[in-house]
C-alpha cells in the first residue's frame, strides 16, 4: 500500500530537514556567541561554529550522494 511509502517520505523529509536546520542554527548561534564582547574563547566558539556549518554541508552532500543514481548505483 502507498501509505507506508507516504510515511517513509514524511519521515525522511523531516529527518533530513531537521538535521540541516539544527546544524546550521547551532552554527549561527555559535557565531553570535563568538561575537559577544565578554567572551573567554571566541576563537574556539568560532571554529566550533564552522564545524557545525561543515557538518551541515556534509549532511547535504551525503543526501545528494544517496539520491543520485550515478554514485549509489
Amino acid at each position: 500500500m502507498k501509505w507506508l511509502e507516504l510515511l517513509t517520505v514524511a519521515g525522511a523529509t523531516l529527518a533530513a530537514a531537521v538535521t540541516v536546520v539544527v546544524l546550521y542554527s547551532l552554527g549561527v548561534r555559535l557565531t553570535a556567541i563568538a561575537g559577544d564582547v565578554r567572551q573567554a574563547s571566541p576563537g574556539m566558539k568560532r571554529s566550533l561554529a564552522f564545524l557545525c556549518f561543515g557538518l551541515c554541508g556534509l549532511a547535504v552532500l551525503f543526501g545528494l550522494y544517496l539520491i543520485i543514481p550515478y554514485f549509489s548505483g
Binding site: T13, A16, A17, V18, V21, S25, V28, R29, I33
Partner: protein, 446 residues
C-alpha cells in the same frame, strides 16, 4: 506530427521552468540573500545540472495513469499533443494570474482530458490517478508545511539568546541564515531540475516510442535529455516574476531564518519523494513550506485569502487543463485541418496572454521589495510615528489649556492641523508619517 509534439513538449518544458523559478528563488530574493538576476541565473544553471543527474522519474512518468501497452490502449502522438496544449495554456493562465500552480498537474490533467476525449473513459487508470496524483497533491504540501513549521520553530529556538541576568536580548546574527539560503535555494533548484525536466523527457520518450522510432521500455536518449535540460534552463532564466512576487511576498513575510527552514524542507521533501518514487509537485511542496514557515515564526501572519486563492487554483488545475486537452483532442481527431486549427489557436492564445502581460510588466526590478528596504521604511515610520505622537500629545495638552475643548473633541491630529504656525513642525512630521505608511501599505499589498 512527431516533430510538432516534440516542439510543443519543449515549449511546455520552457513554461515549466518559467513557472517554477519561484519555488526555488522566491524566498532568497524576498530576504535579499541573492540579487534577483543572479538568482535566476543560478537557478537556471542548477536546473540544467539537475536535469542531467537522474533520469529515474522520466522512466515512470505518465505510466500508470493512462493504460498503455498491449493490454490497454495505444497512446498516440495526437493525444499527447492535445494534452500538452492543455498543460501549456493552463500554465500561461496561472502565470498571468501569478498563481503558483503545479505544472505537473497541468500536464497530467491535459493528458487525462485528452485521453478521455480521444480514446474513452476506460483509458484512465483511476486507481493510478488516485495514488499518483490526488493523494500526493493532498499530502505533499501538508508534509512540507509541517516540516517547515517544525524547522522554523527549531531555528528560532536555537538562535534566540537572552542575557541570563538581565533578560535582555543579545545579538543573534540571524542574518547568517541569508548565506545558508544561497545553498538551500540552490538545492531546491537542483531538485527541481532532477524532477521536472524529467517529466518532459518522459513525454518525448513516450512520443518516440509511440511513433516507433525507439524501442519500448528504453530510457530517454541523450539528445532528448540535453534538449529538455536546455529548455527548462532557458525557461528558468526567463523567470516568472509574477509568481515570484506571490510566493515571496504574497503569502507571508519571509525572514532569512524562515526562508532557510522553508527551502530546506522543500528540498528534502522533493528529493526524498522523487527518490522513493512519488511524483510530487514541486510547486505545491514549496508553497506548503512557505506557509508552514510563516506559521512557525511568532508575529508573522499568513495571508489566508491568498492561500485560499492558490488552493482554488490547484483544485482547478486538473479539470481546466483536462478540459483544454479534451477539446484539443476532439479537434485533432477530425484530421490534419483540426491539428492545424488547434496549433494556430494555441499559439494565438499564448501570444495574446504574453502581450496582455506586457500591460503590467512584472520584472526582476519590481518583483519584490527587498527586505532591507521594507524594514528601513517600517523602522523610520515607527520612529516618526512615536515622535509625531509625542509632539501631538504635548501640543494637545497646551492647546487644551489655551483653547477650550477643540483638542478633546476632534482629536489630537485634527487640532494639530488646525493650528497654523506653532505646529508647522508637527505637521511636516505627520505628513512624512503618512507618506511612510503609504509606502509600507503598498509594500504589504504586493
Amino acid at each position: 506530427m512527431v516533430a510538432l509534439v516534440i516542439g510543443l513538449a519543449l515549449f511546455f518544458d520552457f513554461t515549466n521552468g518559467f513557472h517554477d523559478t519561484a519555488n526555488a528563488m522566491a524566498t532568497p530574493i524576498a530576504t535579499g540573500a541573492i540579487k534577483p538576476k543572479t538568482a535566476v541565473t543560478l537557478a537556471a544553471i542548477l536546473n540544467l545540472v539537475g536535469a542531467f543527474l537522474s533520469t529515474e522519474v522520466a522512466k515512470t512518468v505518465s505510466g500508470g495513469i493512462i493504460r498503455e501497452g498491449s493490454d490497454g490502449v495505444q497512446i498516440t502522438p495526437e493525444i499527447i499533443f492535445a494534452g500538452l496544449m492543455g498543460a501549456i495554456l493552463w500554465n500561461m493562465v496561472t502565470w498571468l494570474k501569478g498563481l503558483p500552480s503545479s505544472s505537473s498537474h497541468a500536464l497530467f490533467g491535459g493528458l487525462i482530458g485528452a485521453a478521455i476525449a480521444g480514446i474513452g473513459f476506460n483509458s484512465i487508470n483511476l486507481e493510478g490517478l488516485l495514488q499518483k496524483v490526488i493523494l500526493p497533491a493532498i499530502f505533499a504540501p501538508l508534509i512540507a508545511g509541517i516540516v517547515a513549521y517544525i524547522c522554523t520553530r527549531l531555528a528560532y529556538a536555537l538562535t534566540s539568546r537572552h542575557d541570563p541576568e538581565t533578560g535582555s536580548k543579545l545579538t543573534q546574527k540571524r542574518g547568517g541564515f541569508r548565506t545558508g539560503q544561497i545553498f538551500t535555494s540552490s538545492l531546491v533548484a537542483l531538485a527541481h531540475g532532477t524532477n521536472d525536466a524529467q517529466k518532459t523527457m518522459g513525454i518525448i520518450t513516450l512520443v518516440l516510442i509511440a511513433a516507433g522510432t525507439q524501442a519500448p521500455g528504453s530510457g530517454p536518449q541523450f539528445w532528448v535529455i540535453a534538449a529538455c535540460a536546455l529548455a527548462i534552463a532557458i525557461g528558468t532564466y526567463a523567470g516568472g516574476w509574477r509568481i515570484i512576487r506571490t510566493m515571496g511576498a504574497g503569502l507571508t513575510e519571509v525572514k532569512p531564518a524562515q526562508g532557510f527552514a522553508a527551502e530546506t524542507s522543500t528540498a528534502s521533501a522533493i528529493l526524498a519523494s522523487s527518490h522513493l518514487g512519488f511524483a510530487l509537485s514541486t510547486t505545491q511542496v514549496a508553497s506548503g513550506s512557505v506557509i508552514g514557515s510563516g506559521m512557525g515564526r511568532r508575529g508573522t501572519s499568513v495571508r489566508w485569502n491568498m492561500v485560499g486563492k492558490i488552493a482554488l487554483g490547484w483544485l482547478f488545475t486538473l479539470p481546466a487543463a483536462g478540459l483544454v486537452g479534451a477539446l484539443t483532442a476532439l479537434l485533432v481527431k477530425t484530421g490534419v485541418v483540426g491539428v492545424l486549427i488547434a496549433a494556430i489557436a494555441g499559439t494565438a492564445a499564448v501570444l495574446f496572454m504574453f502581450f496582455y502581460s506586457r500591460k503590467s510588466a512584472v520584472g526582476h526590478h519590481n518583483a519584490i521589495e527587498v527586505e532591507e528596504a521594507g524594514q528601513a521604511v517600517r523602522f523610520a515610520k515607527k520612529k516618526a510615528m512615536a515622535r509625531a505622537r509625542a509632539k501631538a500629545k504635548a501640543h494637545a495638552r497646551t492647546s487644551a489649556e489655551a483653547n477650550t475643548s477643540a483638542g478633546a473633541t476632534t482629536g489630537a491630529n485634527t487640532s494639530a492641523a488646525a493650528d497654523t504656525r506653532a505646529d508647522a513642525n508637527t505637521n511636516a512630521e505627520a505628513n512624512s508619517d503618512t507618506e511612510a505608511e503609504a509606502v509600507t501599505t503598498k509594500d504589504a499589498q504586493r
